[in-house]
Symmetry: C2
Subunit: 303 residues, 2 copies
């Protein structure tokens, strides 16, 4: 066959999505199941890929995982999910398990870094060298691509936990983050919206004041990310962003937060092309995992 | 001669520092003068380098400049200081002037990116691939080095302008940034301290409550930069950091702001080696300009 076939796992705290394919137009198999114990969940993913391997060889496997995870290639716990509060999952050797059982090269990164790589490869970030992918859903997290590569650094970014100004007179809600209270995730994640308004984001009508406040905070957060990372584009994914009226509000709120300080046309004139939805829609996660596999395969091939 | 000689300009909004050398141990000539009009200031720098060129050829010139500046190599205004509020300096072609007059390759970047590169080359960031240099002085700005290269992206980072939570009951001071009021620079720059306390930072005694509050805000800011960039180290320079009691307070405040969320020994156990003073001291700026020259010369040599 001409193009190699890759496996991908979007390893989320709630569900796993496993797929096999080459690119967005060639996703041959896909399955999804809830995240239960590590043993049961990893076995179930393994069975899926083993069944496929009996028919067709895979070139590599990519895993885009919830975290925190260890990404240091020389660390003894490389490829582990490390200090997660998710019961049973702390110190789980994810990469080692699949490498041993499948005998494949494994690409491994955070779920949001995976999604960022997928958007770079086939979605809304093609051709850029510095951009940000942010998901606003059950949690809030950012994947950053800077100078042509995903950002790891000390650990990996944890963008949901930046602090924002909150005026208690306008907004007395103190946030739900167990570490920081009213950090970005504590104020703007799906569970934060549900706790604040007593109903899920999906049921809040478009004219509910929840959305102006949500956009206000997201605009402050994006302004901070712009001042820090200087991204060429920002991609907003995740379940909360499925509300179609939210994205235009966030664009305006980001301009208001910057208040003309970053004086470039991309922000002052062309914000609709600067803050965008994922080009891969809700397949960004699993396609990101496929992209991680492809990246690892290319790196191995060029050695 | 064995090692080539480089020129460097630390182009600040208040003063210019010009130097010639190869590295920190070989700074042969240095001069400094106030920043007046563009014509007078750039001519004065030119005269300095021309006099040296009559004796010894220079291999390249590096310019670490106040901004905002245009860093896009393909832009018609590449090498310009662009929309600065500094009178007379908006739309000044800095790179073009020196390239024409001296006939040298020119390395050009922000003052803080220059300082970051100098720290990478000879100072406190040697061997790292992702770190942050932050200056807290007349203004606040950050230079970021990610994946082995300085960050430019859309424009360049403007880290002084991130927003922070401020409790008006604890701190009624509304900040002095003309764009954002109480952003980081509006709360923590030297002029902000002077406006808030009615005296300059240098005259505030070590037990003045100013320092706890200053450290509190800087800790919040560093926590945000850690969550966003995941730096392997943070270097704090600038005049305000000359107060020797401030750095330990900032380390503690950063740990408090993160509240155990980023669970890595570098932060939880070895913070003294994680948040540090510049290895090059107050020569980080001009040595950064020399490092920009060296980088450009190496790039040209490898073509």
């Amino acid at each position: 066959m001409s193009s190699p076939l890759f496996g991908g796992i979007e390893a989320g705290g709630t569900k796993f999505v496993c797929a096999v394919g080459t690119d967005p137009d060639t996703l041959l198999h896909e399955t999804r199941f809830p995240t239960t114990t590590p043993d049961e969940t990893l076995r179930r993913a393994l069975d899926f890929f083993r069944a496929i391997q009996r028919e067709t060889p895979l070139a590599a496997l990519g895993i885009a995982s919830f975290g925190p995870i260890d990404l240091h290639p020389t660390s003894p716990t490389y490829g582990f999910i490390t200090s997660t509060p998710k019961p049973g999952w702390a110190n789980t050797d994810v990469v080692g398990f699949f490498a041993r059982e499948l005998g494949l090269p494994i690409g491994f990164d955070t779920d949001v870094n995976g999604a960022a790589l997928g958007e770079y490869r086939w979605g809304a970030a093609q051709g850029l060298d510095t951009f940000l992918y942010l998901t606003i859903g059950t949690g809030i997290g950012g994947g950053a691509f800077v100078n042509g590569r995903l950002v790891h650094g000390l650990l990996h970014p944890e963008m949901g936990h930046i602090r924002l100004p909150r005026d208690p007179n306008r907004d007395p809600f103190e946030g739900i983050c167990p570490y920081h209270g009213d950090c970005l995730e504590g104020l703007c994640s799906g569970p934060a919206l549900a706790a604040r308004w007593g109903q899920n984001a999906e049921t809040l009508p478009a004219d509910h004041p929840a959305w102006e406040l949500q956009a206000h905070y997201l605009g402050l957060a994006l302004a901070t990310f712009i001042c820090t990372l200087s991204p060429q584009r920002i991609i907003l994914g995740g379940g909360v962003m499925n509300a179609p009226h939210l994205l235009p509000l966030v664009r305006t709120a980001t301009q208001q937060a910057l208040n003309g300080y970053i004086h470039v046309p991309a922000i002052t004139e062309q914000i609709d092309a600067y803050i965008v939805a994922p080009g891969l829609g809700n397949r960004a996660g699993v396609l990101g995992a496929i992209a991680l596999a492809e990246q690892t395969w290319k790196e191995r091939s060029s050695l």
